[in-house]
């Protein structure tokens, strides 16, 4: 699972008012090289929750993202490549996602988070 996907996911358990961002518990991280596409990054940037991405990157062992970011920084290719690496190349292979409010764990196996809810959580 990419951090892009992590940045989109939020916990939808019944009664949880803010299920975002899910905390990451890391067991295994892998990296996959992907081609950098500046257009895509510029397009997706406003939709990304920056704080969550920085935090997630740090838990995955990539601490090079700046604390703050704005649209102007997208012109720097150095920033772009870091953003790209964090967003698309880091994969959480094994571990878990934890709901920030309830502490419910969503296990991640082979890169697939199990977001199925129990019947009493719907």
């Amino acid at each position: 699972m990419r951090l892009l996907t992590h940045n989109m996911l939020s916990s939808k358990i019944k009664g949880v008012s803010n299920g975002f961002p899910l905390r990451i518990e890391v067991e295994k991280v892998i990296e996959k090289q992907v081609e950098l596409n500046p257009d895509f990054l510029k397009n997706i940037f406003p939709k990304v929750d920056w704080k969550a991405l920085v935090e997630a990157g740090r838990t995955m062992g990539f601490a090079e993202l700046p604390e703050e970011a704005d649209l102007l920084m997208l012109d720097s290719s150095e920033f772009l490549s870091k953003f790209h690496h964090a967003l698309l190349e880091l994969h959480l292979e094994e571990g878990a996602l934890v709901c920030p409010e309830t502490g419910r764990k969503f296990p991640v196996n082979k890169g697939i988070p199990n977001m199925l809810l129990h019947e009493d959580e719907v």
């Binding site: 989109m8 996911l9 939808k12 397009n43 997706i44 929750d49 988070p113 977001m115 199925l116 719907v122």
Partner: protein
Amino acid sequence: MSSRPESLAPPEIFYDDAEARKYTSSSRIIQIQAKLSERALELLALPDDGIPRLLLDIGCGSGLSGETLTENGHLWVGVDISQSMLDIALDRQVEGDLLLGDMGQGLAIRPGVVDGAISISAVQWLCNADKSSHEPRLRLKAFFGSLHRCLSRGARAVFQVYPENLAQRELILRSAMHAGFAGGVVVDYPHSTKNRKEYLVLTCGPPSLSTATPKGKGEDGESGSDEEFSDEENQTIRTSDRHRPRKKQKTTKKGKGREWLLKKKEQMRRKGNTVPPDTKYTGRKRKSKF
């Protein structure tokens, strides 16, 4: 209609390892899925600027439909309820990210982040209640509600569906409208049993020129060959089924009449059947007392 997988078992059970492998090793299914997802992507009408978008593939299964998205340069996140199907997707090394989730529980996705959603032959599963806690109406509501939230403004969602009957189609469509979507059903090749495909095209956000429902294909009795679709002009949107007007029978309250009866008897005689002779009683009504 022959047996529908929906009526056999819940999706997470029906698509077990064997079924998932079968599904993905059949070149016919692969071809159909690719064609359906291509058409869905076309109906999604993403701006033609070459920028990759973030799309959602609901009921992505083994990633057959996602492959079409990858081929067109988009990034996608797939959701499916069957672990076996997702395992096959991993084997096939699809590009998109996969989630194990139940669309009837609502999509666990933050608001306003997705540029579009497609779903190939999946939404009709929601119309089934496989557990005692399942209520199709509520599950559809949760699904469409969460989808409406997570799509960005003006984004589209295209679902290829196989509703079992009119009521199911009505239920799906109504749930989508209640969630705040605009749009309708596009039917490709409505007169063909085999090629007939239904797409639910939904738009999120205020209605505008670009949100008009696109037209279906092969409306004018075009046979819908395997070749790519021809023109898109001569088609209309249909939400009803393919009932054609029946030939009117010439019957009055009195019945078919003596004249008609004599004609029929003559016909039968010519065929060599034994027919009672024509008398003054032929074609006459019995008295009510009789």
